[in-house]
């Protein structure tokens, strides 16, 4: 097998080519695209969007979907902001509280799915409404403005003037996820359950524990994204999370994730986030209607799913 065809079978190779191509093309049309300022803007978007994508990616890995990622992120965000403004909690404690809320929401999703046997789609559609309702009930749809200066500084600080500080948690989460899915039994169980639930059960894996764990993980990652957004925006917006859903699916799918479960890639999902960010940025640079971003995002999901199907339909040797 040649080197190229081996590379083409990895998940990250296609998205990497697409990313480089997108960057080259946009750079060709716009001098300012790769300016330090613009790169910083790109990285800011990528830092949060990558977490949103990971929060969905781990659920895709077990062959389910989580429609409530945005609602969980939003609830965690206002928990974080509210705990600091209303209760005057120090930031680290408020972070812990927000992460706890994310974990609890995820645990509720996972437990409901396993106990009732109802599909994840229906359960998370219902909890999306519940979490969002709690959010609006607590905030009365008004933002929390009392964000401590330290948190604001963290949200807008950079390393060497280019890399935003909020990129660091994202990087750590990426590495941890990569390690988990590759090396830790729990990561392998997640992929095994997604690949063939029946066979996983026969191999002595607890499907219930795995499903609950993965939903808790999804909730915690969504909560981190919510917390980082509060730090960056410098207010606790109740509307945080409202527009996460499409993005959360787009990046993993562009990264070759199999929606039926059993196969996801952290690196390729990260590249998917970069592609979306570059294209969004390009539309802004070329002063194209920002609402078109949604159309482009939808088209990219369709194209990526189509490409994944083509790849999956490579002839299987020896079958039949």
């Amino acid at each position: 097998m040649s080197r190229i065809s081996q590379l083409s079978r990895t998940d990250w190779f296609g998205p990497l080519l697409a990313t480089l191509l997108a960057i080259l093309v946009v750079r060709g049309f716009s001098e300012t695209f790769l300016s330090p300022y613009n790169i910083q803007i790109l990285l800011l978007a990528i830092a949060v969007n990558a977490l949103i994508a990971f929060s969905q990616m781990v659920i895709i890995a077990i062959g389910q979907m989580n429609l409530s990622v945005g609602a969980i992120g939003g609830l965690a965000a206002i928990t974080f902001a509210g705990a600091m403004e209303v209760w005057g909690l120090p930031a680290p404690l408020a972070v812990m509280l927000a992460l706890g809320v994310g974990a609890a929401c995820g645990a509720m999703n996972g437990a409901l799915i396993r106990i009732t046997g109802i599909s994840a789609f229906v359960i998370t559609l219902a909890t999306l409404s519940i979490f969002k309702g709690i959010n609006l009930g607590l905030t009365e749809a008004q933002p929390f403005y009392g964000i401590p200066e330290g948190v604001k500084a963290f949200g807008n600080a950079t390393i060497l003037g280019i890399v935003p500080l909020i990129f660091v948690p994202t990087l750590l989460v990426s590495i941890a996820l990569w390690y988990m899915l590759r090396r830790l039994p729990v990561g392998r169980f997640i992929l095994a359950v997604g690949s063939n639930e029946h066979a996983a059960e026969l191999s002595g894996i607890s499907v219930t524990a795995t499903v609950v764990i993965v939903h808790v993980l999804s909730g915690v990652i969504a909560a981190i994204a919510g917390i980082l957004l509060v730090a960056r925006l410098e207010i606790g917006q109740p509307s945080i999370g409202d527009d996460w859903l499409i993005l959360s699916f787009a990046a993993p799918v562009i990264g070759g994730a199999v929606l039926a479960g059993g196969h996801v890639s952290v690196s390729a999902t990260l590249l998917g986030v970069v592609i979306v960010a570059v294209i969004t940025q390009a539309l802004v640079l070329f002063s194209i209607d920002p609402f078109l971003v949604q159309v482009v995002l939808g088209a990219m999901i369709l194209a990526a799913v189509g490409l994944n199907r083509l790849r999956a339909h490579q002839p299987v040797s020896g079958a039949g």
Partner: protein, 511 residues
């Protein structure tokens, strides 16, 4: 070599499911160093017995013994712990996981967060791959292996759990002849090392080649219990499998010879892999399509209906060559109806009323100029047929899901009568139906044929086939292996049919 001391015994195993007694006191004794065949027709109880031995089901009565000690398996884990391994007919591997990881997933299961040492895993896996002469890199993903090698990986996985009893369910179903030979060499080696193997297969030649003992099940009972294979002929095995000279199969002899052909297939091939299918059904004739599960019968029916593409040969309806592009076309233009074997998911819409279920095929015909459709119109069209079939329902508004299996089946047939089909394909007509309704359904199908409808029956139930069909086409491996005229004599018919399935050509076809 074979020991007298039995590794595993099952005695008086009974298993009742709601409405069915699948096993009525079955015995089997597995000795170490032996390859034991488990035979039986579809529905004889083989898979139920396997599920009981492997702990998937719990027996209603009877005892299981391992090493002479009575045991109770609450689940598959318990059976594994007692050294009973199984290689299922369907693959239970994770395609993207490595060979080593697939083999050792059970052992990893002990902890969630202890990092996996892949080097160690690969080293351990080699120790199970070597005895199977499976020369693959343990780090390679399973998806890159051939089907035969995947099967060996499953065997390695079962062996790595210290299995002393190994159940193999149709292990050669997807193997070529040379792969089968290699597998057999390995199984013999395992036997010589003292393992007790239980071999389930439909291929009698293979069974005779490799097995030293045999248990045959028929109708949930032992036709023979763990007897030595020596001296047992192929004929004896067939005899035991289909045995009963019972079933007063009132063969039906009708001369449909002169009648025009309603459905004709000539050299038909389909996208699903059927090839050289020659079949003809005349008006007023009932043709049976017999074969074992997986022979491709239901698939052929669906191809005729336009659900799957026909890729070669000629299809004729009422003497005219046709191309059926969709199910709607088959129903409305050509008058072909299909009663599915899977009533609940394909035949009926359980939540809907009896009336709307029976009326679906006629909606298009009855719909007025504006596409409007009155319940009254539908009622007029279907009521005579529901009455004729004596469907017992409190009202036409009753949802179909609340009726008995027999009544559901009657509705599935009634809807095609109302639609006035010329050709009716009935798939496993009596699955889940009590004996009385079954007899009634048989009368109905005969009446239907007498009225001029061409009927194609698919069934795995030999007595039913002999009771109904004028001619029987035997299918195996997605092709028709022969057509026999029904004489109504059960022993003769079952022998001729089994010969067409298990005959000397069968091995060549599946190779």
């Amino acid at each position: 070599m074979m020991t007298d001391h039995p590794l595993f015994e099952a005695q008086g195993i009974e298993k009742a499911f709601p409405g069915v007694r699948a096993l009525k006191g079955v015995d089997i004794t597995l000795a170490g160093g032996s390859i034991h065949a488990l035979l039986g027709e579809n529905g004889a109880g083989k898979s139920t017995l396997i599920k009981i031995i492997t702990g998937v089901h719990q027996p209603t009565a009877g005892t299981l013994r391992v090493d002479g000690e009575a045991v109770r398996f609450a689940g598959t884990r318990d059976a594994i712990a007692r050294g009973i391994g199984v290689v299922h007919q369907e693959r239970n591997l994770f395609p993207r996981f490595s060979v080593a990881e697939n083999i050792h997933l059970e052992q990893i299961g002990a902890s969630y967060f202890k990092p996996i040492d892949y080097a160690e895993l690969n080293r351990k896996a080699r120790q199970w791959l070597e005895p199977l002469e499976l020369d693959v890199d343990p780090a390679m993903p399973v998806s890159e292996l051939s089907v035969a090698k995947m099967q060996l990986v499953e065997i390695a996985k079962a062996l790595s759990l210290q299995s002393r009893v190994l159940l193999l369910d149709e292990p050669t179903a997807s193997l070529t002849a040379s792969e089968t030979d290699r597998l057999f060499a390995i199984l013999r080696r395992l036997r010589d090392a003292g393992t007790s193997l239980l071999f389930v297969s439909h291929k009698l030649e293979e069974v005779q080649e490799i097995c030293d003992r045999v248990t045959v099940l028929r109708d949930g009972e032992n036709a023979c219990d763990s007897r030595a294979m020596a001296g047992v002929t192929r004929g004896d095995l067939v005899e035991m499998m289909i045995g009963r000279a019972e079933s007063a199969a009132s063969g039906r002899r009708r001369a449909a010879d002169g009648a025009p052909e309603m459905l004709g297939l000539q050299k038909v091939a389909t996208e699903l892999g059927h090839r050289d299918i020659d079949l003809s059904v005349r008006a007023g004739e009932i043709v049976g399509l017999y074969g074992l599960v997986g022979a491709g019968r239901t698939e052929l029916a669906k191809a005729i209906l336009g659900k799957f593409a026909i890729t070669g040969g000629e299809t004729r309806v009422a003497g005219e060559a046709v191309r059926i592009g969709s199910v709607a076309e088959a129903i409305h233009r050509h008058g072909i109806g299909y009663v599915s074997e899977d009533r609940k998911s394909e035949g009926l819409i359980l939540q809907h009323s009896v009336l709307s279920n029976a009326g679906i095929p006629v909606w298009r015909r009855l719909a007025g100029a504006m596409g409007l459709l009155g319940d009254g119109k539908v009622r007029d069209a279907v009521l005579p047929y529901l009455e004729k079939l004596e469907v017992k329902t409190p009202s036409l508004a009753q949802s179909a899901g609340n009726l008995s299996g027999g009544n559901q089946q009657k509705i599935s047939v009634a809807k095609w009568l109302a639609a006035g089909v010329r050709i009716l394909i009935v798939d496993e007509p009596s699955v889940g139906i009590d004996i009385k309704t079954k007899a009634y359904l048989h009368d109905l199908l005969r009446d239907l044929a007498d009225g001029g409808t061409a009927v194609l029956i698919i069934t795995s139930d030999m007595p039913e086939m002999i009771a109904l069909a004028d001619r029987i086409a035997v299918m195996d491996g997605y092709t028709i292996t022969g057509v026999v005229g029904n004489t109504g004599s059960y022993p003769e018919m079952s022998r001729r049919i089994m010969d067409l399935i298990h005959g000397p050509d069968a091995a060549a076809r599946t190779a």
